[in-house]
Symmetry: C2
Subunit: 342 residues, 2 copies
C-alpha cells in the first residue's frame, strides 16, 4: 500500500492535475511524449489512478451502479463503455449489475445501495410499475434510462431519460404508410409485455388508425417467451411462423434491429427478397444495421446523448445542483435499402 495521489504525480511530472487525468484516461489534448512520461511516473510510484482509492476503509465510496435488465442485449451493452467514460470524467467509480426479468429492479437497487454504499443508481432498460415498486424507498438519487413506464399507470415523477416509444414507433410505421404500404406486419415484444415493445406496438396501431387502415390482428406477432427477447433467434422463429400462415403483407416492422436480422433470414429462406417482396424496418439503430444485407431502415435512438444526459441529470442530483428531470429525446429515422415504395 502507498499513498501517492494524483497531485504527487502532477508535481513530479511538473504538469497540472488535469493533464495527469488526461494521460490516465487516454484523453486527447496532450502530447504523446507528455503522456508517456506521466504514465511511466504513475507506474514507477504505483499510483492507483482512481479517486475512490483514497476512500479505502472509509464508509464513503464514490460509486454509481448501472442496473441493467437484459445485460446481453446488444443495444444496452453498446452503452456500457460510454457510461464508464462519462462517470469517470465526473470522478465517479462505476459498477454494472445485471437484473433478471424475474427480479424487482427497484428492490435490487435498494439492496445494492446498502451493500455497496452507492452514491446513485442508473436503471437501464426494462419496465417499472410505480404503483407497486417502492421507488420512495430508494435512498439515493437515481435516473431511469430507457426504462419504460407503463402508459396505463400514473406517471412517476422520477428522473428519466429516454425516447417516446409510442411516438417513434408511430413515425416509422407512418413512413411505411407514406410509401404505399397498408399490409404491415409487426414483431413486437412478448405477449403481455408492458415495456418498450408495448410502446412501439401502440405507435404501430396509432399510425394505422390515423391513416384509416384497419388493424389486422393476425399481422401482430409477439416474440416467443421461451427464447431470449429481442434476439435474432426470436425474430427468426416468429417471422418464420408469420410467413407460414400465408397471410399477405408487404412490410414488416421489427421492434428491434437484432430481431430484424432474424426476420431477414426467415424471409430469405422462404424465397422472398428484401425489399422487393417485403420491406423491413427495425428500431434502435445499432451499428450492425448498416452492415447487414440490405442495410436496414430504422429508428436510431440517440444512444450517446442518452448516456450523457443520464449522467448529467444523476450527478447534478447527487451534487444537489439539479432536480429530477424527465428528458425525452428524439430518435432519427435512418432511411436505408431495406424499404421500397409500393
Amino acid at each position: 500500500m502507498n499513498n501517492v495521489t494524483i497531485k504527487d504525480i502532477a508535481r513530479i511530472c511538473k504538469v497540472g492535475v488535469s493533464t495527469v487525468s488526461r494521460a490516465i484516461n487516454n484523453d486527447t489534448g496532450i502530447s504523446e511524449e507528455t503522456r508517456n512520461r506521466i504514465l511511466e511516473t504513475v507506474k514507477k510510484y504505483h499510483y492507483v489512478p482512481n479517486t475512490s482509492a483514497r476512500n479505502l476503509g472509509a464508509a464513503e465510496t464514490n460509486t454509481i451502479a448501472v442496473l441493467v435488465y437484459s445485460v446481453t442485449n446488444i443495444f444496452f451493452s453498446s452503452m456500457y463503455g460510454m457510461f464508464q467514460t462519462e462517470l469517470e470524467k465526473k470522478g465517479y467509480d462505476y459498477i454494472l449489475h445485471s437484473v433478471k426479468d424475474t427480479q424487482d429492479i427497484v428492490a435490487e437497487g435498494i439492496r445494492l445501495v446498502k451493500e455497496k454504499r452507492l452514491k446513485g443508481i442508473i436503471f437501464l432498460g426494462g419496465w417499472i410499475d410505480p404503483t407497486k415498486m417502492r421507488l420512495e424507498d430508494i435512498p439515493v438519487p437515481y435516473v431511469f434510462c430507457t426504462v419504460y413506464q407503463d402508459i396505463e399507470l400514473p406517471k412517476s415523477d422520477s428522473a428519466s431519460v429516454g425516447i417516446d416509444d409510442i411516438e417513434e414507433g408511430r413515425r416509422i410505421v407512418e413512413y411505411l404508410i407514406e410509401r404505399g404500404h397498408t399490409r404491415i406486419a409487426i414483431i413486437g415484444g412478448v405477449e403481455g409485455d408492458r415495456a418498450t415493445g408495448a410502446g412501439r406496438l401502440r405507435g404501430y396501431r396509432e399510425a394505422l388508425e390515423g391513416a384509416g387502415i384497419p388493424v389486422d390482428e393476425r399481422l401482430i406477432r409477439h416474440m416467443k417467451k421461451n427464447l431470449e427477447e429481442f434476439t435474432a433467434k426470436n425474430g427468426y422463429a416468429v417471422c418464420k411462423e408469420l410467413l407460414e400462415t400465408g397471410l399477405e403483407f408487404t412490410a414488416l416492422f421489427c421492434v428491434s434491429d437484432l430481431t430484424a436480422v432474424g426476420a431477414y433470414r426467415a424471409i430469405y429462406e422462404s424465397g422472398r427478397r428484401i425489399p422487393d417482396d417485403i420491406s423491413v424496418v427495425g428500431f434502435d439503430g445499432i451499428e450492425l444495421g448498416d452492415y447487414i444485407e440490405p442495410p436496414i431502415t430504422t429508428m436510431h435512438q440517440p444512444r450517446d446523448q442518452m448516456v450523457i444526459e443520464t449522467v448529467r441529470v444523476l450527478t447534478g442530483m447527487i451534487d444537489g445542483t439539479s432536480r429530477a428531470e424527465q428528458v425525452v429525446l428524439k430518435a432519427d429515422l435512418l432511411e436505408r435499402a431495406s424499404t421500397r415504395r409500393l
Copy 2:
C-alpha cells in the same frame, strides 16, 4: 428492513430451500404453480433474495467481480448473464467492471479487491504480461477467462480457462486449404497486437507453412487502431482497402465473426459474391453468425462451458478445494454457407 431468510420462505411455503432458490432463479424443475406461490410469498414478506444481503454492515462480502476488457464486445457481453447465473447458483454476488485498453487490468483488479472487498476475480478478455503485471499482488483467487498470455513470454501459472487460439486459428485455415484455397487473406487484430488476434494470426501462418504455401505478407491485414477493435465497422474498412489493392485471393479469414459482418458488406459493395468469389470464415461462433447472409463458417468457442469452468475453478479456489487449474477447451468448426471448395 426485515430479516426474512430463505429458510423462512421455505418454511412458509412448505418446500425445501433449494426449491425456493429455484423459483427465485427461474430455474427448471419446479411446477409453475409452486413457482408462483413462492414468488408471491417472497413479495409478501419483502424477502431480499440474495445471500449477501445477510452480510449488510459486516466487513465480509460475498462478491466476485468480472473485470472485462472491451465491455461492448458482443462475444464477451453474451457471457455476462451466464456468469451471473452460475455465480448466484453458488451463492455469490456479482459485479461487472470494465477496464480500458490503456489500464493495467491487474492493477485495476487489486484496487477493486480493496474497495469492494471482493472474494475473487474473473479477468475476461484482453492480454496480460506476467513479467510486468503484479499478479503476485492480487490478494484473492482469480481466473483468467479467454485472456491471452503472450506466447513469447514465460507462461504464468495462474488459473486460466480458454481455447488455444493458435491451434484453433490453424485449424480453420487448414479447413480452407483442404478445400483448395491457397490465396487466403486474413484480417487480424491491430498491428502489434499480442492478444487473441495475434494467436489466431500465428495459427494462420502455421497452417500455410505446414501446407507449403508461401505467406504473402500483403494478404495479412490488421484492424485499424482508430476504430473499435473486432467490430463490423473495422472489418468493413480493412476489407474495403484490401479489395482496392486488387490483390487476388479466394478466401478470407476474419479473426472475429463481427469483423466478418463488416467484410461481407465490403465484398458485396465491390460486386463480389460470397462464397462464389470469396469464401469467408469467422471466429467466435456468435449467435448472429447463423443469421447473416450467407450464414458464416466459423470456429465456435465453447462459451457456456468457459463460463461454467471459470466459475468452477474460481469458487473451488475460494473454498480451498481446488488448485489453480489451466483449462484449455476445444472450439468447434461450424461449417456453413460462406465457404466453398475451389
